[in-house]
Amino acid sequence: MKETSTETRSVVVEREIAHPPEKIWRALTQPHLMEEWLMKNDFSPVVGHRFNLRGEWGGVLDCEVLVVEPNRKLSYAWNFAHEDPAYDLKSVVTFTLVPTSAGTQLRMEQVGFHPDQRQAYGGAKAGWQQFFENLERLLAGMN
């Protein structure tokens, strides 16, 4: 796949969850429930509503509601302003809920990562791989 500087990359996380879409929708859209699994927020499920997500690490994300289709689809802008373009992020997060026999197929797609917001792991020499693995474990434990 050829990458151009205008192309963006996305992150997709999908999981089948043993709960009905209506219930997951509540957890995705009620601020006190969102705080339990995502971050502190002043969310409201209204298209055009601007809100912030506040991470425990002190970071603040600027967000805006883009799509609200109850029990089916929720989308909002997920922006992190930073003077360094390598960290400055303008992305869109979209949750899609599809009922299944066992519950719900929940899909999260985050679109908007620029190719230059990627660290070239490929250039890492021997020894770096282990370091990065340790680093990722460390970062994962910090969530």
Binding site: A27, M108, Q119, F131, F132, L135, L139, N143
Partner: protein, 107 residues
Amino acid sequence: MSNAHDMLFRTLADPTRRALFERLCREGERTVGALTVRAGVSQPVVSKHLGVLKQAGLVRDRHEGRHTYYSAQLGALAPLVDWTREMAGFWQSRFDDLEDLLKRMDQ
């Protein structure tokens, strides 16, 4: 690769220095003396490595009485982390928390 990247790669390329940094990441704030105990090199060498780490913004020092405490500055690693991989990990862990919450909502 930008200068910031070059500096980080150069700073962390030395295994002794990298080991010191990893220890600070794992163990939190430590004095030069405490770091020397298991470093396998002399205190002046440890101090020199800490100086290089500090220049790269990877550690911060804090003076208290006769001691200098060093701590890891994880933010300085940001350029080394692949955002998409990091975000995928972030969302997986959010989904775990979401499932926990959904279980609790039944009760």
